[in-house]
């Protein structure tokens, strides 16, 4: 489903990724780990078309991501749910509206929006807080809203870029459990993290990056900081 083939990425002379090659199949749960600056976020940006590879090819299903034009990217992004460390929620909207927004921009009818949003808010256990504004929520709850928004389009894959970076261990663990549950329901998960405890407790596939290169790619891998 996702294929990075000899991908390199260059920012003003700095090599963020060097000849990176990997494949991710449907329903996999893959952790991409490494220190800050190792190239984890660059992989996320390349996958959602935020960046174009300097060399190599990134494909997602039938999309050749690096060759998509600006007007074609929205279609791709409706297949990929994204979750970020800083939540990226709209403070002027309440929980329901933040989640519904992802369907509104896709032009979905009101009834469908209402049904899907309620369903996904129940999944993340925020049904009772649908009318709360973002400022009224804890960090863990904000991240669950972001997960709900990522899931509401029923994407093929959810990309979580350091989703536990701003959370305490209890909430971090709750978010990982929620992502695992979503994966078990059939959605592919790509998790980037530099938190070895979280990655190691899952016992899933781990890709380790160092200075823009893949140094390890193992099923049930372990991440140990050198």
């Amino acid at each position: 489903m996702i294929n990075f083939q000899d991908v390199s990425n260059n920012y003003n002379g700095y090599q963020a990724l060097i000849n990176v090659t990997f494949k991710i199949v449907p329903q996999e749960f893959v952790s991409i780990v490494g220190r800050s600056g190792a190239g984890k976020s660059t992989i996320v940006k390349l996958l959602i078309g935020e960046e174009k590879p300097t060399n190599g090819r990134v494909t997602f299903g039938h999309y050749d991501v690096g060759k998509l034009k600006s007007g074609q990217l929205p279609q791709l992004r409706r297949h990929i749910g994204t979750i970020f460390q800083d939540f990226k929620l709209l403070p002027t909207k309440n929980v329901y509206e933040n989640v519904a927004f992802a369907l509104e921009v896709a032009g979905k009818p009101e009834k469908e929006i209402s049904d899907f949003v309620r369903e996904v808010l129940d999944l993340v256990d925020l049904g009772s807080k649908s009318k709360n504004f973002i400022r009224e929520l804890s960090g863990g709850e904000k991240q669950r809203v972001a997960i709900a928004r990522a899931m509401v389009n029923r994407p093929d894959v959810v990309v979580a870029d350091e989703p536990t970076g701003n959370l305490d261990p209890f909430n971090a663990s709750a978010i990982i459990n929620l992502l695992t549950k979503i994966n078990e329901l059939g959605t592919t998960i790509i998790l980037t993290s530099h938190n070895k405890d979280i990655v190691n407790q899952m016992g899933r596939r781990v890709i380790i990056l160092e200075n823009g290169r893949i140094v390890s790619d193992e099923e049930k891998g372990k991440y140990s900081v050198l």
Partner: protein, 279 residues
Amino acid sequence: MATLTVMLLALIVFSSLIIFNVVATSALDSIQEKIDISVYFKTNAPEDEVLRIKRSLEELEEVKSVEYISRDKALEMFKERHLEDATITQAVDELGENPLSASLNIKADDPSKYSLIASYLEHNTLDEYVEKVSYAQNQVVIDRLASIINISRRAGLFLTIILAIVAILVVFNTILLAIYSNREGIEIMRLVGASNMFIRGPYIVEGLIYGIVSAILSMAVILPVIYFISPYLKVFIPSMDLAGYFMDNIFTLFSYQLLFGVGIGIISSLIAIRRYLKA
């Protein structure tokens, strides 16, 4: 507020340019209507010679009409004009003979053809009979007026272009600021798969509203000014009814303004949002 003011100024100058064009064209037409070439003959010029010259002029392609005013007719007209001035009437009577000369008033099909007619009159040795040709004096005035109108038109067009550029820059910066303050919202829209049109929409509408509001305000400013200057203008150009022209063409003028204002608004917002939609 600053955005609306600059757009309003640009629109007022744009409308003034349109109105100036109408007034200038009307003034030029009105003056050109009065142009003719008058050939005044010496008092001893035989009438059949004058009529021969008249016929030869009528054969020219450029000539629309030639009016012959005989010495007697000229005297009659002179007396009529000074009917109430006893001194002049008495003076003419005391002269005992007609002091006025016969003349030909020549009108051309096109004002630009007068120079050809004048050159015809110069190149046909008519000095023996002709006292003077009045064309040259008129031409200086007409050329000068045409030149002033032309320069004013260019200056107005230049000012409109400059103000339109200023208006585009100001609207561009206003919308850029609005985009910057909502950059996180735009980033989220892009992440959840909003189309470029969905993101652009509100900013294009903002530019559109600036255009519509400034076009309405500009009409509200221009209308009283037109009504104020119209009677004064009529004194100089009797055939010109500016207020009437304005009211007859109010929808066309408003459409031009709307097109100009909305064009500036939309172009500015499209340029401003473009850089945020590149990735």
